[in-house]
């Protein structure tokens, strides 16, 4: 069986020395299989970039293991298969975009002619058509990020590791990037990326790995994370008497007053939601607002992170 593109097991990475030594990653384990698109999310300082740097061989594990295609990070063979976008992408300001791609292509084993042939289309794909001969010091932050994505895709890698994917990109740039990544997915590439744009993670990923305070707190398919969190909210008015006397489906769901004669309640299943609506109508109440409130990955992330922080503080 071919080894997984990414296999991290009990990874611990610390920074500093002696009494100042701090663990940035504390026993992280996860795997990314061939062809998967996995989002890696966490708050600032949660350990995302450190984990990614360990995957790239830029920092060294204190314990545990990291394998990329079954090899240790930093191994030339595994790096040949990776396209990497760093967290903050900066490129030599004294070089032209084309020269930079020629440099990176050459270092990846591509011939100069091959890079020259490929560069214009690649630059066009990331929205930098016609910028090949411009010095990089004239590039905006967003343009640098686009160039970063181009260099990551340049050598047609099997695995894309993208740190803070859409950092510095405007909405148009993000939309373009989504198209690029969807094309990469269709082409069978494995994608592992960190992002603060959780809607993007939701839209692109098969699976999400959440990290908090150096530990993995979720590792599940996106669909699993969103489905059980569905909420339905009903705002109504016109029911006679006090809540204690209202029909059971309404009374038992603890309606809260949010106006003179207006109440709101929440249910957590479609069946209960339907039941509530029917009960209100049959008691001559007026349904003013009924929404299927699908809790997003972002809500789940915030809840999880805040819960974790409070638990740690408590």
């Amino acid at each position: 069986m071919a080894p997984s593109p990414i296999d991290v097991s009990d990874l611990v990475v610390s920074y500093g020395r002696g009494a100042k030594r701090t663990a940035a990653v504390r026993g992280v384990s996860f795997r990314v299989d061939e062809g998967e698109c996995v989002g890696f999310i966490g708050a600032n300082g949660a350990g995302k970039s450190t984990t990614i740097k360990a995957l790239m061989g830029f920092v060294f594990p204190e314990s545990g293991s990291v394998k990329v295609y079954g090899r240790t990070p930093g191994d030339a063979e595994s790096r040949r298969r990776i396209g990497y976008l760093p967290e903050v992408a900066l490129y030599y300001p004294f070089m032209k975009a084309r020269e930079l791609l020629e440099l990176y292509g050459g270092l990846s084993g591509m011939g100069a002619a091959e890079v020259r042939a490929k560069a214009p289309a690649l630059l066009e794909q990331v929205g930098l058509a016609g910028c090949g001969e411009r010095l990089l010091r004239t590039f905006s932050k967003g343009m640098q990020q686009r160039l970063g994505i181009a260099q990551a895709l340049l050598a047609d890698p099997d695995l894309l590791i993208l740190d803070e994917l859409s950092s510095g990109l405007d909405p148009l740039g993000r939309a373009g990037l989504r198209t690029v990544l969807q094309a990469a997915r269709k082409a069978g590439k494995t994608i592992f990326f960190s992002s603060h744009e959780l809607t993007e993670v939701e839209a692109l990923c098969d699976r999400v790995v959440m990290i908090h305070q150096g530990r993995i707190v979720r590792d599940a398919p996106v669909s699993d994370l969103i489905r059980p969190l569905n909420r339905y909210e009903v705002t109504f008015a016109g029911l006679a008497g006090e809540p204690a006397g209202w029909p059971d489906p309404v009374r038992t769901r603890d309606p809260r007053r949010d106006g003179a004669d207006q109440w709101t309640l929440e249910t957590d299943s479609i069946e209960a939601y339907t039941e509530v609506l029917e009960a209100i109508r049959s008691a001559d109440g007026e349904v003013r607002r009924a929404v299927s409130k699908s809790i997003s990955l972002e809500d789940d992330f915030i809840r999880l992170v805040q819960g974790g922080t409070e638990a740690a503080a408590g």
């Binding site: 030339a76 790096r79 990497y84 900066l90 004294f94 440099l103 084993g109």
Partner: protein, 261 residues
């Protein structure tokens, strides 16, 4: 083979940077300006002026090129870390040894370019003043200076891995500036020193590279009194320079090899 290709590609970026940042041209202009000021003090007869010009020129040019090499070398890695340009480079199948060797080769290429410009000015000036160039000694001087630049470049890399950028440049410059003073001081004090002091002087002589050994400028200026070095001496000096370069480079590599970035 791919290691050599990587090395050349990394070296090319250093060379492009050095050329496009125009620092080298500024250094050459300042050096030429200094020489011009000195030449304007025309109080020698023609032969004296010619030698004076050559002596001053070679000294100024050695300093200018040595400082260029030292500063370029010392700032390569700190700049890569600070500007985070190192990540996409080392994300490729490039070993850290090839990366560092490429940086060294690039610094040496930029140093050679700078020194070449200065030497062109020197040769032009000498011929313009009707002086003769002792080609044998002059080429040996150029060659040994390049060996000395290699030592300084490796030292610059090592210091930059041990110290902050500013400290690395300062220590490197102080080392270069005091190298000849230390050598002269040791040879002056040694005969009068007691046993303990002699041991210290001997240790210093062995541990610190004697940069004055690579300076043939006085011989190149007063060529009528000197003949070119024999091949054997040149080979020994080369080996001596390469030994220190290798030691410094290995130190820099050992520190860089496991450095988290």
């Amino acid at each position: 083979m791919s290691g050599l290709r990587h090395l050349l590609l990394v070296a090319r970026t250093v060379r492009i940077e050095a050329v496009r940042r125009r620092e080298i041209y500024a250094i050459v202009l300042v050096a030429v300006g200094l020489i011009a000021v000195v030449l304007s003090l025309n109080f020698f007869d023609l032969d004296g002026l010619n030698k004076f010009y050559r002596e001053i020129s070679l000294r100024v040019m050695t300093w200018a090129a040595a400082l260029t090499v030292l500063v370029l070398a010392a700032r390569q890695l700190p700049r890569e870390f600070e500007q985070r340009t190192i990540y996409p480079l080392l994300a490729r199948p490039v070993g850290r040894a090839a990366f560092l060797a490429g940086k060294l080769a690039g610094v040496m290429a930029a140093g050679a370019f700078c020194f070449g410009l200065l030497m062109a000015v020197y040769i032009g000036g000498t011929l313009w003043m009707g002086g003769a160039l002792p080609w044998g000694l002059f080429l040996q001087y150029v060659y040994l200076q390049m060996v000395m630049f290699l030592i300084l470049a490796c030292l610059g890399f090592l210091l930059s891995m041990l110290l902050s950028l500013d400290a690395a440049i300062t220590i490197g410059v102080v080392f270069f500036a005091l190298a000849s003073t230390i050598t002269h001081m040791i040879s002056f004090l040694y005969p009068e020193a007691d046993r303990g002091a002699r041991a210290v002087y001997r240790a210093l002589t062995v541990l610190l590279p004697q940069l004055t050994l690579f300076d043939l400028s006085e011989k190149a200026v007063h060529a009528e009194a000197w003949s070119p070095l024999s091949f054997g001496v040149l080979a020994q000096l080369t080996a001596y320079g390469l030994l220190f370069s290798a030691l410094y480079f290995a130190g820099a590599y050992l520190l860089f090899r496991r450095r988290p970035i």
